[in-house]
């Protein structure tokens, strides 16, 4: 068989178990595909020798009857997730030479399950951005059209899956960093409930929002990967001791009753492209035809969510990134002559423009005289945003909220570079769920007039990732993969 990189993880599992092909063959095809699509710049590092060695070992284990769930299947990780003894850069000059001293919790899970870690993927520096353009290692390009952005910040993880370099990958989502690129690249991206997946060993950006999640070319593969990484970890104080289960095993259980809410604040606004509206209308009709009750809802504080996010996230970023001082690890300026200069010059030379921008805003809103007016107020309004969702799910009995993932499809590289607010507006539909810690999924529902993928977002109540995955799975099965955007389906 050839082009094994184009198979989904589920098909790879079956083929490997039946000995239709070996893990070494799969990894070789993935490595070939990565080389052939090098111009999209999805990877910061590729572990060619290590991955082949690991694949060989997986084949030996398969021969002995080892049934580890991901045994022999390749996966890539966003380069903000630690893999012991390999570089983890967070796409920053600051961490260009940083070697991870330990594995992240999710990396441990992948290793334990037998996955072959093939490389680390590109991202917006320290997970700050919406386009995949803010990387010290160069912008990632959208595999569909190379003059377009893939979306960020999990740009490389998403582009690599869309380009069929790998079947699935891990990313992280703070304000939409999995869902937005998934929409732009025509793949499935899931942000789990805050606390579902441990962030131990993940480079922090905004700790009250950061969450690790999965990117794949189907809901099944997304569920398969989530089953591996979800679970309690005492090393992350925000990890919740909640039973996780094999999400992929229950994915065919479509609910008998389903009430879908359409937030009027998301639909009745200017700025959503017409093609996206049409694709969403068709998707809504699909779920109605499947028996769902569809109703208009209101999330009245939606208009404040973006501003709340761009106060809270920079504030947390300013605090988290204060650790980069050029002393214990990371970049140290050669121009500094005393300690204060080491701090200032190392940080000024080591951080990129977007990171500096957010640190400045963060320190401003946290400083004396502004804290109450900005940060404290933003935290209170965050509660109002969360209460909007709470009321929808608990009082109105809505099971799922359906919404656009983004107001536009992938825009041109450089188009929003000079205007941070225009760039931030891309996150307008993903941020409210992030502020509330709710799980959300983006899945492809068609293409626009420029042949670029369109994403649809579903948001559920806490801990209900199963429902999100089941509903998307039904959509994929009924519509058929050939009619959905995913490039290599």
């Amino acid at each position: 068989m050839s082009n094994l990189n184009k198979l989904q993880a589920r098909e790879l599992r079956e083929g490997l178990d039946k000995k239709d092909f070996s893990s070494v063959e799969v990894v070789k095809d993935c490595l070939k595909s990565i080389k052939e699509s090098q111009d999209i710049n999805a990877f910061i590092s590729v572990f060619e020798d290590q991955a082949l060695k690991q694949a060989k070992s997986c084949d030996e284990k398969l021969a002995t009857g080892d049934t580890s769930p991901l045994l022999g299947i390749p996966v890539a990780l966003k380069d903000a997730i630690l893999v012991k003894d390999f570089k983890t850069t967070s796409a920053s000059k600051m961490l260009e030479n940083f070697t991870a001293p330990y594995d992240a919790h999710v990396t441990e899970g992948l290793k334990k399950s037998g996955a072959v870690i093939i490389g680390k993927t590109n991202l917006d520096e320290f997970c700050m951005g919406s386009s995949g353009e803010h990387s010290a290692f160069g912008a990632t390009k959208n595999p569909w059209k190379h003059d377009r952005v893939p979306g960020g910040t999990s740009s490389g993880s998403t582009a690599a899956v869309s380009a069929a370099n790998i079947p699935f990958s891990l990313g992280s989502d703070t304000g939409g960093s999995i869902r937005l690129p998934a929409a732009y690249c025509g793949v499935v991206g899931l942000k789990p409930t805050y606390g579902r997946v441990s962030r131990y060993g993940v480079i922090a950006y905004a700790s009250s929002l950061d969450q690790v999640g999965c990117i794949a070319r189907s809901s099944y593969d997304t569920a398969f990967l989530l089953s591996i990484i979800a679970g309690y970890d005492k090393r992350d104080a925000t990890s919740v001791n909640k039973t996780s289960w094999d999400f992929h095993k229950t994915i065919s259980e479509y609910p008998k009753k389903l009430k879908i809410g359409l937030p009027k604040e998301y639909f009745n606004v200017d700025g959503i492209e017409d093609d996206i509206k049409v694709a969403l209308d068709k998707t809504i009709k699909f779920f109605k035809d499947q028996g769902a009750e569809v109703t208009e809802i209101s999330l009245p504080h939606t208009d404040l969510a973006l501003s709340v996010y761009y106060i809270i996230a920079p504030a947390e970023a300013a605090s988290n990134l204060s650790r980069y001082d050029g002393i214990r690890y990371g970049y140290r300026s050669k121009e500094a002559s005393d300690l204060n200069e080491i701090y200032t010059k190392s940080r000024s030379e080591g951080f990129g423009l977007e990171v500096k921008r957010r640190i400045l805003v963060g320190n401003y809103v946290l400083s004396s005289g502004y804290y109450d007016a900005y940060y404290r107020k933003a935290q209170k309004i965050r509660t109002l945003v969360r209460n909007d969702f709470k009321s929808t799910f608990e009082d109105q009995g809505v099971d799922l909220i359906l919404a656009p993932t983004s107001p536009t499809t992938a825009f041109k590289l450089g188009e929003n570079e000079q205007d941070p607010i225009q760039m931030y507006l891309n996150d307008i539909y993903t941020i409210p769920a992030s502020l509330s810690g709710l799980p959300g999924i983006s899945f492809p529902i068609g293409k626009d007039k420029n042949e670029l993928p369109i994403g649809c977002q579903l948001i559920s109540n806490y801990w209900n990732e199963n429902l999100l995955l089941q509903v998307v799975n039904r959509y994929e099965e009924e519509i058929g993969w050939d009619k959905i955007a995913t490039q290599y389906a």
Binding site: P101, Y102, Y232
Partner: protein, 112 residues
């Protein structure tokens, strides 16, 4: 946004231990800093109800944080050893991080 914005920008740069690399970067940073603050001004101006104490948030959902036991054993599990901690240090010697002089600048000492 403060009326004395230039002062704010310089102060916040200092607080952040950052300095623009050149005048272009300074212009860009200053302009985007102002744009972002203008955008989030809506929060500052938002009037909340008189009793907003119930809006204080400690966690996004009702689950409690899962804190580890506060004892020596649990700390040991997550701590790195000295070699691991030093492996990414820009400069180290004798199992210590090397930093420049803190109290006095080098030149001052040489002049003494």
């Amino acid at each position: 946004m403060s009326e004395n914005n230039d002062f704010d920008f310089k102060t916040v740069l200092e607080l952040s231990k950052l300095e623009p690399l050149n005048s272009d970067e300074e212009k860009q940073l200053k302009s985007s800093f102002n744009k972002i603050l203008n955008h989030v001004e809506v929060i500052k101006n938002k009037v909340l109800s008189s009793d907003d104490s119930s809006l204080e948030m400690t966690h996004v959902h009702s689950e409690n944080n899962a804190l580890r036991e506060d004892n020596e054993d649990s700390i040991e599990e997550t701590n790195m050893n000295v070699d691991s901690a030093l492996m990414n240090a820009p400069d180290s010697r004798d199992r210590c991080f090397i930093t420049p002089l803190i109290i006095q600048a080098k030149k001052e000492i040489e002049n003494e």
